[in-house]
Symmetry: C2
Amino acid sequence: MGDYLEEIIDKVKQMDFKDSIDFSLKFKNIVIFGMGGSGIAGKIFQDLFTKFPVISIDSYEFPQYIDENTLFISISYSGNTEETIRATDMAIKKGAKVWAITSGGELSKMVKNVILIPKGLQPRSSIGYLLNPLLLGSGLADDDSLKEAKENIEKLNREHEEMKIIADEIYYGNKIPAIFGFPPYKYVAYRLKTQFNENSKILAYWSYFPELNHNDTMPLKSTYRKELFYFIALTYPNINEIYLKRLKITSEICDFNYKEVRAMGESLASQIYTSIHQGDLISYYLAKRRGVDPRDVNIIEELKRRLS
Amino acid sequence: MGDYLEEIIDKVKQMDFKDSIDFSLKFKNIVIFGMGGSGIAGKIFQDLFTKFPVISIDSYEFPQYIDENTLFISISYSGNTEETIRATDMAIKKGAKVWAITSGGELSKMVKNVILIPKGLQPRSSIGYLLNPLLLGSGLADDDSLKEAKENIEKLNREHEEMKIIADEIYYGNKIPAIFGFPPYKYVAYRLKTQFNENSKILAYWSYFPELNHNDTMPLKSTYRKELFYFIALTYPNINEIYLKRLKITSEICDFNYKEVRAMGESLASQIYTSIHQGDLISYYLAKRRGVDPRDVNIIEELKRRLS
């Protein structure tokens, strides 16, 4: 398959990555810090694990409540993300229980409890390495569900004509993707938005049910330029019926078509990873159609240089 | 000024609303439940108050950790929002310390501690009634800062030519608004997105610094259809210099223009409310230009009927 696709299908291997964060420590809340392709793991996790409050942070603002009762998980693929280093330093000073998930860099030196993951990928391609330590440590995934995830990712690798068709329809229609997510996986929709940004180099729009029924629904019928958008609904097996009903009625009332892309499998791990994988494939094929290099993020790199 | 503008400038009066939630209760975390125009108060507050973990929720998923150590604040202008009633019922059963902010409805009957607010507005027009009880109760606002907010809102009411110009530029350029927010006020940018949706009946895009530098930045230079977007940056006085530097460098590297709309005043309350007010005015004038009724949300109402 060649080129960047190798990074995308690396997910298969990542399903065997079993290092995990120790959730048996005593804590009252969990803060996960991470930016962009690294931070997405924390964003996704925050809606899944609800035994404790989980707050994902991606800014310079550092919450006062972080202290020795906080499990602070710092995620940076490179280990050198400026925002993440700064926040981790503060968390250590506040006495939080700090863990890091990283492939090295400054972060691997400053934190004692490090989940060390393989180098050589784009952060956004390492989602399994970033997310498995959270899912396994918290009990949201286990060997069986990761096996199911792996099998379904392999199945997708063999057969994903639908993802190519979606990429084609976006490309030839000169469309802006608008992605609808559904709790508890709404940040998988956000992930797809960011993959369109970084892989395909196009702006994309995301939103989620049922919240969007309180605002986006209003313009969907009559907005100017509605024809520009290509609507994708990221559903999953055993989704709450109320969400499907909302999707159906919304599209009827507002008179728009959407493409339903359905995650695979019964387990949370399989659903999360196949849904992510479907989006990764769509954004990859769109990059190819557009003649841009999906790996290239030179503008983000230039920005980092000019900021430092 | 007439019509819906009366609702928008009702904010002046709302700055005198001093009922507040009792934050002296014993709790370990705060959960704020609310959808759409009601929920926005919780979303904004969650990034401002950091003495305790604050989690804003807008879905059917109900976190396990909610118990007697949770201050559960339920916000629904009508008091009859389906999602909110359902979640509040569960919070009561779990023994949480439940408060409600509402103008009546079912919610005012099921909860003992109710902040009762005036009827007759659209939820999105009652932002002061919804947010003041949180800001005052938590100590993030006081009489002085609400006085500053009020004076600056009045100043804006007298003079806001800039907001009309922005609405005109969006309208005559047939643009899609893309709003950039900055922590800790990023949800004010989200609020403006939803105001474009409900008032102006157009889709809009929002994102925030520094997170957007890790994804949106990539396509900003070379996305197809970039010319469609009208970029608005919602800044504020005493903003962290690093944010302005990021904004400037991003626009230089990516070669796009943006309109900076700067909040007014020194206090958090004044900045939040003037920034919201500026956006409300822009979305109002855009509705007028488009010849749509900014008050009308008939599609959302129809959806609710068909769901029930």
